[in-house]
């Protein structure tokens, strides 16, 4: 299949987005340690191989917009990109990370297969342009405050910058304070726009800022949210996975364990059959 701009969906020599084969983008929210990253990547790759899904490793080198200023942010750009590079090389999987400034987009773009524009920053044209100019696939998360039309316009802008390799990601919409709801109509609109469509099942379960200085969440809702997105139709599913979610240094309320990830992906496979 081809997406907007004639893009064939290739994100890596061994991974091409398509309707036929779901792509799973999964990894720890923060790249806490090299060991945790490799553990999650190896386990999720094996699980995706077993289920017939393509796998992309994700992790963040810098959680630059934490709710509070006194919480961990990650290994930083240099070390984080080094670890991402090692995962990519040793496990032969594509890798994704998020960037917050045009400078970071250029730096990360030299290493990763997919650069991600965070939801808060989805409208930032300088950042979109820098991501486009990296030449890599660009995943744009829909801002919790943004309309689907707005984020599609951001994708159009990225494509107009010369890079049509764009993924649009739904992760929930503000529903009053400290709450998100997923408007599944957005997935339909994103898909109709001709861009590859991704659903972020773990961030969609967040209760932003609801945890007295940190984000809280409804982890038990993640499987249902993912099932619904699968039913509507997506090209990729995004999950944050941690060996011990309760002890995770970020998004501890929404990251899922290997066991839960396995349950989710088996259910998704059934729904796609």
């Amino acid at each position: 299949m081809t997406f907007n701009g004639g893009w064939n969906g290739e994100i890596h020599p061994k991974a091409t987005l398509s309707q036929q084969q779901l792509t799973v983008i999964a990894g720890p929210c923060m790249f806490e340690t090299r060991e945790i990253g490799f553990e999650v990547a190896a386990q999720m790759k094996a699980l995706c191989d077993e289920l017939g899904f393509q796998y992309v490793f994700k992790s963040s080198y810098d959680k630059a917009n934490r709710t509070s200023g006194n919480t961990a942010r990650g290994p930083g750009l240099e070390k984080g990109l080094q670890w991402l590079s090692e995962v990519r090389e040793h496990l032969h999987v594509p890798v994704l990370t998020d960037v917050h400034t045009p400078v970071q987009a250029a730096e990360a773009g030299r290493i990763v297969d997919i650069v991600q524009v965070p939801a808060f920053l989805c409208d930032q044209k300088d950042l979109l342009k820098a991501c486009a100019e990296s030449g890599k696939t660009v995943q744009i998360k829909k801002g919790q405050h943004a309309t689907p039309e707005q984020v599609i316009a951001c994708a159009d802008y990225t494509a107009a910058c010369g890079n049509p390799k764009v993924l649009l990601c739904e992760r929930g919409t503000s529903f009053g304070y400290n709450n998100l709801v997923v408007d599944y109509r957005n997935l339909v609109m994103m898909r109709r726009s001709g861009y590859a469509t991704v659903f972020d099942g773990t961030h969609a379960a967040q209760l932003p800022g609801a945890g007295s200085g940190q984000s809280s969440g409804l982890r038990d809702m993640v499987p249902a949210l993912c099932a619904a997105a699968t039913a509507v139709g997506i090209h990729a599913l995004f999950l944050e996975v941690h060996p011990n979610p309760e002890k995770a240094l970020s998004d501890a309320s929404t990251q899922v364990s290997f066991e839960t990830a396995t349950h989710i992906l088996r259910r998704v496979k059934q729904l796609r059959a």
Binding site: A64, N65, R66, T67, S68, G69, R73, H100, T101, P102, V103, F120, L121, D123, Q124, D126, G143, Q144, H145, A146, T147, E149, Q150, A153, T173, S174, Y177, N178, P208, G209, A210, G213
Partner: protein, 228 residues
């Protein structure tokens, strides 16, 4: 924070084309106090400077910043910086803003609970004493914002002076795409919004330069001569 009416020589690299719609003005409450020019960060443009001087607006410059590099590139002539709501939690931007020594207009993201702004302000460290919190409404579905008086109450409790972004409230982003009725952008709501702002001792209004308040709204604002 007290507003200084002393003239400041305009200078610096933080000016833009005045014809751009992003060109804003910030109106303090004090009667006859000069306006602050609030500009989008782009390349320097002396015409803007001249235009602002001609119109008597230029007292001090407040420019929009979105990256640490932009903040680092500002010169002394730009005394105030505006951090849009989308960036109100970006740690690096806030750290650079704090280090700049400039007055920080920090806008609450429309997606953030008001209480989250206390933590955003805390990220500024000692610079939190030089912050104006900007209220621009809360996301209320797609392409709509509401001014929640509870948000003003919570922001006021943080202890910083406040500004109201009238533009964001009356012309929320996404309007061009969504199925919202046009009344959102009706300036007739200015008066109600300004009354609310006055009730919570809001000190500044932000609106684009190409938009004028109605005489009633302007009079209401300028006659609110409370000694905050």
């Amino acid at each position: 924070m007290s507003y200084s009416a002393a003239p400041m020589p305009p200078s610096g690299s933080c000016f833009v084309d005045a014809n751009r719609p992003q060109f804003h003005k910030v109106i303090p409450t004090q009667l006859r106090a000069p306006l602050l020019g609030c500009l989008e960060w782009r390349v320097g443009n002396a015409q803007t400077e001249q235009l602002m001087q001609r119109r008597g607006w230029m007292q001090s410059v407040c420019t929009t910043v979105t990256t640490p590099e932009q903040i680092g590139g500002l010169d002394a002539g730009c005394e105030r910086i505006f951090i849009p709501g989308e960036f109100s939690r970006q740690g690096d931007v806030l750290a650079a803003a704090a280090a700049s020594g400039k007055t920080i207009f920090l806008e609450r993201g429309a997606f953030l609970a008001p209480s989250d702004m206390l933590r955003a302000v805390s990220k500024l460290g000692p610079a939190k004493d030089n912050v104006v919190l900007v209220e621009s409404g809360s996301a209320f579905g797609y392409s709509d914002r509401v001014l929640d008086p509870r948000a003003l109450e919570v922001l006021a409790s943080i202890g910083c002076p406040m500004a109201l972004n009238l533009e964001a409230l009356t012309q929320p982003s996404g309007m061009a795409y969504a199925h919202r009725p046009q009344w959102i952008s009706d300036p007739a709501f200015d008066t109600a919004l300004i009354r609310t702002a006055i009730a919570f001792a809001v000190r500044y209004l932000i609106l684009p330069c190409n938009r004028e308040l109605s005489p009633q709204a302007a009079e209401l604002w300028l006659s609110a001569r409370k000694d905050y």
